[in-house]
């Protein structure tokens, strides 16, 4: 009985500290918006208040503007969705001129997702962003399954991964996360390649490669034929890859893939993630960051934990 009372008192008296240090990027809580679904943040900014999100990973930026894939680009799937946006983006210069200024002042950590078809393009974007104020880190997207050239090739070959990470590393002093493709047999090898090449953190997973067919017209449903599967459907796959990546490397891991609840986020942390990102879940509930943040706080209070440190990777021990 006394123990229970003690616990109750404790619960009231302390406010758990949700902050984490992700590869040198200090986050007020471990919840980021994943690259893509959130765009460049403006739109959601009008809609939900940002206060419970620790930061934004903006949509992939390439050296030159990319038009993206032909529609339809999206389809719902059981407990998930396919997308084949094809990394449509305005290109580095327009991003810096138009999007970055608006993003700078939103009071959130800002991580820029970098894409390219060649090593030079990746390095070019990193170089072009090097002088810009207000960017807290880069996320190297070597894993997008929706573009035909480059992209995935880097993410499924350890040697190529090493090269592209080294090339970008030379251009930037910013904390560098490398976002891995889940479409590989052994994620540990890829994670280690990125770590050895100088990454400060690993980010995973990107979408799984998939497709659907419209039987009415006997054609692939997506304009691009193939797309990337995301959402709760893939969470068990994502969680296992985060577990394996965290086991393979010493640098911190940013986990994502299908998170829609605080319990999901906790599972990623217990598997070894330092922080988590939410993508598709934002479509189901634009206030998801608040739901997760509140749930994490409640969990820490219930467990009498002051912060998330002890939970990171605890299920692996």
């Amino acid at each position: 009985m006394d123990e229970k009372k003690d616990k109750k008192r404790q619960e009231k008296e302390f406010e758990p500290d949700l902050s984490v240090d992700l590869a040198g990027i200090v986050l007020k809580n471990p919840v980021l918006a994943a690259s893509g679904p959130f765009g460049y943040g403006h739109e959601y900014g009008e809609l939900t208040n940002f206060k419970d999100l620790a930061g934004i990973i903006v949509k992939g930026v390439s050296l030159e503007p990319w038009p993206g894939n032909s529609p339809p680009r999206i389809s719902e799937t059981p407990a998930g969705m396919l997308n084949a946006v094809g990394l449509q983006n305005p290109g580095l210069r327009n991003f810096i001129k138009e999007d970055l200024p608006r993003l700078r002042n939103c009071g959130l950590r800002l991580i820029v997702n970098v894409v390219g078809c060649t090593m030079d393009e990746y390095a070019g974007v990193a170089c072009g962003l090097a002088g810009e104020v207000g960017i807290d880190g880069l996320e190297l997207n070597i894993s997008c399954p929706n573009i035909k050239a480059g992209g995935m090739a880097f993410g499924t070959d350890p040697a190529a991964t090493r090269q592209v990470v080294e090339a970008v590393r030379r251009e930037t002093k910013l904390p560098l996360l490398v976002k891995l493709s889940p479409n590989v047999a052994d994620i540990g090898i890829m994670a280690r390649a990125a770590e050895e090449a100088g990454a400060d953190g690993i980010s995973l997973i990107n979408t799984l490669s998939g497709m659907l067919i419209n039987t009415a017209d006997k054609k692939p449903l997506l304009g691009n034929t193939f797309g990337g599967l995301s959402g709760p459907a893939i969470m068990p796959v994502a969680l296992k890859m985060v577990w394996q990546a965290a086991e393979a490397v010493k640098i911190p891991v940013l986990g994502m893939g299908g998170i829609t609840t605080a319990d999901d986020a906790l599972q990623f942390i217990m598997a070894g993630a330092r922080a988590v990102a939410i993508g598709t879940g934002l479509f189901y509930n634009p206030e998801l960051a608040t739901v997760i943040k509140t749930g994490l706080e409640r969990y820490l209070k219930k467990e009498g934990l002051l912060n998330l440190d002890q939970l990171e990777g605890i299920a692996r021990s």
Binding site: G68, R73, I74, A79, Q88, Y284
Partner: protein, 239 residues
């Protein structure tokens, strides 16, 4: 309304007071279905005074069925008003509605007082689900047509429009892609301004994810934010 369709009236004062004809809402799924995307529906009626919105739903798949099955008094989460609607139609405008395309056009027809003509078309009589009373508006001329002639004139929206377009200052259309393609073609031919309301599969509904694009003369544009209403000459409908 006929089988396979339903009308949902929602208390949503904020949206009802802001919405313009052609705008839409994202309707979130009931909480027992936490892993489904919201579905976009055009506003059919907005009663700002009473804070009430109405949408018309054609039951096509799982999402629309779930919404149709909700009982009176149940709660639905909405996001809106979203997108860019129609500009105000000048006197003598023609409104072309194909099937459920009636939803935004009924709203548009109601929003002005000037003389205007509504061409209300569908494949067959059962698909002309909009209650006549709702379209009984001063200054509104209505011509109904069905492809199979089961009610109104026998013919397509394009047939009808070709017969009516002469002298019209502008055309406003919503309906299936082939209908819009035909409308666009006729309007370009006659040199009449036209606005088309498009549909595309959506995720965010607010312009963030770039998932719902349509090809335009300026590249891909987002149906949810740059549209759903586009000037006919801008959109490339077979792209």
């Amino acid at each position: 309304m006929g089988p396979g369709f339903c009308r949902i009236t929602l208390a949503a004062p904020d949206i009802a007071s802001l919405v313009e004809p052609g705008q839409f809402v994202q309707v979130f799924m009931p909480p027992e279905h936490p892993h489904m995307l919201p579905r976009p529906f055009s506003i059919y009626k907005a009663d700002a005074e009473n804070g009430v919105l109405t949408i018309l739903v054609e039951i096509k798949g799982k999402g629309s069925r779930l919404l149709a099955d909700r009982g009176p008094g149940s709660f639905l989460k909405l996001l809106g008003p979203l997108g860019r609607g129609f500009p105000p139609p000048p006197p003598g405008s023609i409104l072309v509605a194909g099937g459920m395309g009636i939803a935004p056009l009924a709203f548009l027809a109601e929003s002005v007082n000037k003389p205007r003509t509504l061409l209300y078309c569908a494949r067959t009589a059962d698909l002309l689900v909009c209650p006549g009373a709702d379209l009984d508006l001063p200054g509104l001329q209505i011509i109904r047509a069905t492809d199979d002639g089961t009610t109104g004139i026998k013919g397509t929206a394009a047939d009808l429009l070709s017969g009516q377009i002469e002298g019209a200052p502008a055309v406003f259309a919503c309906g299936p892609r082939p209908m819009l393609t035909a409308v666009k073609e006729i309007c370009l031919r006659w040199g009449v301004n036209a606005w088309l309301s498009l549909e595309e599969r959506m995720a965010c509904g607010i312009g963030a994810c770039v998932g719902c694009v349509v090809l335009t003369i300026d590249g891909y544009k987002r149906v949810c934010r740059d549209g759903p209403v586009f000037p006919a000459e801008e959109v490339i409908l077979d792209g």
